[in-house]
């Protein structure tokens, strides 16, 4: 990180309506530097990156790349200046195969007599994946049928395919499981060695300190400070982000496992071809049972299988009502809740109102005589969820697409906690939310635990599972390989050792 300046920003402003997203930003990036951008949701990190990447144009201020004026009109224009970005929200086109998505907008270079040579293009795409050590999804498959992680890999390959001098990564790691995260870290390190620069946004403060050289902290659209990663600690950054001291103990502080309550769920010999093999476990009232594993380990399938969304052999026995769960409607009727990983595609009706989303799992409970769902009761329930979980919004009639990730997740989780649940399945509940909302979600989990709800916590964040779970099941290739209790060897090292 001794190189000269590659990117300079002076006095940059950007506002949306009356809200300033970026105010008077000054920013300098050197060659071979890995810079972190951190701040709460809404602090303007993504807006800043989007302007560098040519998605938005600044209202005022100037940008210089290699000393020359830089005013990109489009992402392709930015590419021409050696800058490319992987966005937080998915930027692949579902109806196109993976290979085409890698060269989106640039397929012309593979044209022969007006026809794109797909084989040649896929070969080039494969070369990109291989060069950077990224896990390659099947290139001929449509991306709409892929999991988030694979789609993210495609976007990453697309950004890398132009060999950028500056690579912008907006919340990429949060969609990845541990092994793919590690390949990303290696990639970033290689970038540094090649004397190229990276700007990273991540909500995970520990991760950021580990992988960056310097960190810029943003608050309310302004730069509030710049620190050298090697000389800082999470508490200092957290304090800079929110502007006040916040207690760092949002995880549990005890080390006693609490798994002696009555058994709520008993899973025996659960197998789903290609996903799960002979999985057996029990969950008890008031217990948080954590699941972790690498990307193909099958942890996400556990949630789906328990909630009856995928079926195989074996039994999922729910004891309070003594039934075997075989379908999602049945799980819903039996006071089980499920918060899936992909918030926008699997959990919320994104274009519908907060009200419609909030009451969706409680329609049965709202029913009065003659099947009536009384509008008064519907409204007061939605209003209750909105205020109890402090969802920042203009009202229950607002559509959820305008809300931030954290507020969407509050609705997503809150609507289940508003029910009389016995078992709650959480799949990556804090994906893409800032520290404030994260802390709120952990507090809600502790409260639910105290109320005797059994919780299955599936997460790609190892620290989260270690911080919250009573017991931890480590999975590999669809099997449970190890069980660790909170009072045993409950550390990252011991878990990672089993995961790989």
């Amino acid at each position: 990180m001794s190189g000269g300046t590659i990117l300079e920003i002076h006095g940059l402003n950007k506002h949306f309506g009356p809200t300033y997203a970026n105010r008077n930003i000054d920013f300098t990036l050197r060659r071979g530097e890995v810079r972190g951008l951190i701040g709460e949701n809404g602090s303007g990190k993504s807006t800043l990156l989007s302007q560098i990447a040519g998605l938005y144009r600044p209202d005022s201020g100037e940008m210089l790349v290699n000393g020359g004026k830089y005013d990109p009109h489009s992402p392709l224009d930015a590419n021409a200046h050696g800058i490319s970005m992987v966005m937080q929200e998915l930027g692949v086109i579902g109806s196109l195969p993976a290979g085409v998505n890698v060269f989106l907008g640039r397929t012309g270079q593979f044209a022969k007599g007006g026809i794109v040579d797909l084989r040649e293009m896929n070969r080039a795409a494969a070369a990109v994946f291989e060069k950077w050590g990224l896990r390659m999804p099947p290139l001929n498959r449509l991306t709409e049928n892929m999991i988030i992680e694979d789609r993210k890999m495609i976007e990453l390959a697309r950004a890398l395919s132009i060999e950028p001098e500056i690579l912008l990564l907006d919340e990429v790691t949060q969609s990845l499981s541990l092994n793919n995260r590690n390949s990303l870290y290696e990639l970033i390190a290689r970038y540094r060695d090649m004397d190229r620069s990276v700007i990273v946004i991540t909500h995970d403060i520990e991760e950021m300190i580990r992988i960056t050289d310097t960190i810029t902290v943003l608050r309310d659209g302004q730069v509030v400070g710049e620190v050298v990663s090697a000389e800082t600690d999470p508490d200092q950054i957290r304090m800079m982000m929110v502007g006040r001291q916040i207690s760092g103990d949002y995880y549990r502080d005890d080390t006693t496992p609490d798994c002696d309550g009555e058994t709520v769920l008993s899973v025996r010999d659960l197998s789903v071809p290609g996903e799960l093999e002979d999985v057996s476990f029990d969950v008890h009232a008031g217990e948080i049972l954590g699941f972790c594993g690498l990307s193909d380990a099958g942890i996400h399938s556990i949630g789906k299988a328990v909630y009856g969304l995928i079926r195989g052999s074996g039994t999922v026995h729910f004891l309070p009502t003594d039934v075997n769960i075989t379908s999602a409607p049945q799980a819903l009727a039996n006071h089980i809740g499920y918060v899936p990983k992909d918030r926008d595609r699997e959990a919320l009706l994104i274009h519908a109102s907060i009200r419609d989303n909030a009451v969706l799992p409680s329609v049965e409970e709202l029913r009065a005589a003659a099947g009536l769902l009384p509008p008064g009761r519907v409204n007061s329930m939605a209003e209750g969820i909105r205020s109890r979980f402090s969802v920042k919004s203009t009202g229950i009639a607002q559509t959820t697409d305008a809300l931030s990730g954290g507020n969407k997740q509050k609705i997503n989780l809150g609507r289940w906690l508003a029910k009389d649940l016995r078992l709650l399945i959480l799949d990556c509940p804090t994906r893409g939310v800032d520290v404030g909302v994260k802390a709120a979600i952990y507090a809600l989990m502790k409260e639910a635990k105290k109320n005797g709800i059994a919780i299955i916590l599936i997460s790609d964040e190892l620290t989260e599972v270690l911080g919250m779970a009573d017991r931890l099941l480590v999975m590999k290739d669809g099997r449970v390989t190890k069980e660790i209790r909170r009072d045993e060897d409950f550390t990252e090292q011991s878990v990672i050792g089993v995961m790989i």
Partner: protein, 333 residues
């Protein structure tokens, strides 16, 4: 304020169908020199709309789920023709009511099971039905010919009875659509089927249910159709599915269904469509070629508007300006 503007724009798009209705009414009132507002015309207008609404209010549930049922027209014909024949040949007049409803229901169930269990797109299936069943109806009619409402059932042909029956049925259907689980789940399925499934909505059952309901209402529509004309005709239910679809979309429901589906929209839409068709014939353009091409043009216009507003809606979801205090767009998760 950006949010106010956005809200205003939203309200604006909700208002378009109302404005279209008023403009059409004024246009044809002037164009026909006031004939449009005569009591006879208004009665015709209402009776024509009633038939479309009754046959189409089941389709509204299907559209809310993001599917389409284009088989209502032939279903009206099939259930009407058979019901009337049963009533005539047995001499038991009232039998026409249960028979029409049961045949309608059966056809709807068949559609629903095929769509949900065999994963055939509803558009393709109902087009196939539209063609295939029409053939069967024509074949039956070449054998039994046109039949008239039996004397014992003539009371259904009085417009007073029909309007009263319409009000009761429409009220029940509006209630079902707006205030019950069936309506709420249907809109949720149209918004995002995956989400509905993941929450635990019995999606397959809901699909079968709404197609069955659509069929049942087609059977009901058959009774209204025969009550209006006095019996079966060779052209029974012809083009009715298009009128129904046009009414729903012209009323402001998006082809993708979801929250945009509201019960009042089919009423508003069918009134607008009827005004156009009836107004054109009053203006002396009763020549069916002209009125048909106008209807075709309208359908195109509606589809175009729906696609454009859909695209806008999508764009809004992806790059909407944030509300004050919210995150900028790129940061929305």
């Amino acid at each position: 304020m950006k949010t106010d503007k956005k809200a205003a724009k939203l309200r604006m798009s909700e208002l378009v169908p109302f404005i279209a209705f008023v403009v059409l009414l004024v246009f044809f009132s002037i164009g026909t020199g006031g004939k449009m507002l005569s009591s006879y015309s208004l009665k015709m207008l209402i009776e024509q709309s009633i038939l479309t609404i009754i046959s189409g209010c089941g389709v509204l549930f299907v559209v809310a789920q993001g599917s389409i049922d284009l088989s209502v027209g032939v279903n009206v014909a099939l259930s009407g023709v058979i019901a009337m024949h049963v009533a005539q040949s047995t001499g038991v007049g009232w039998l026409m009511i249960p028979v029409a409803l049961l045949i309608g229901l059966f056809m709807g169930l068949l559609n629903g099971v095929i769509v949900s269990k065999c994963h055939v797109p509803s558009f393709t299936l109902s087009i196939a039905m539209l063609i295939g069943v029409r053939g069967i109806v024509n074949y039956i009619q070449t054998i039994i010919g046109v039949e008239y409402v039996p004397a014992s059932m003539l009371f259904i042909t009085s417009s007073g009875f029909r309007i009263a029956a319409f009000v009761v049925i429409a009220a029940i259907m509006a209630y079902l659509f707006e205030f019950t689980k069936l309506g709420r789940y249907s809109r949720a399925i149209g918004e995002n089927e995956t989400t509905a499934r993941f929450v635990g909505v019995p999606v397959d059952r809901m699909k079968i249910l709404v197609f069955a309901l659509s069929g049942l209402m087609a059977g009901c529509g058959a009774l209204f159709s025969m009550a209006t004309v006095g019996g079966t005709t060779q052209t029974m239910g012809v083009f009715l599915e298009m009128k129904v679809a046009m009414s729903i979309f012209f009323g402001g429901v998006l082809v993708t269904g979801g929250s945009s589906a509201k019960f009042y929209k089919i009423i508003l839409g069918s009134l607008s469509i009827t005004i156009i068709v009836y107004g054109l014939s009053l203006m002396g353009m009763s020549d069916s070629h002209i009125s048909q091409s106008v209807e075709g043009g309208l359908l195109l216009l509606i589809l175009f508007m729906t696609i454009v507003s859909n695209r806008k809606k999508k764009a809004r979801g992806e790059t909407a300006a944030p509300a004050p205090g919210e995150t900028p767009p790129a940061e929305q998760t």
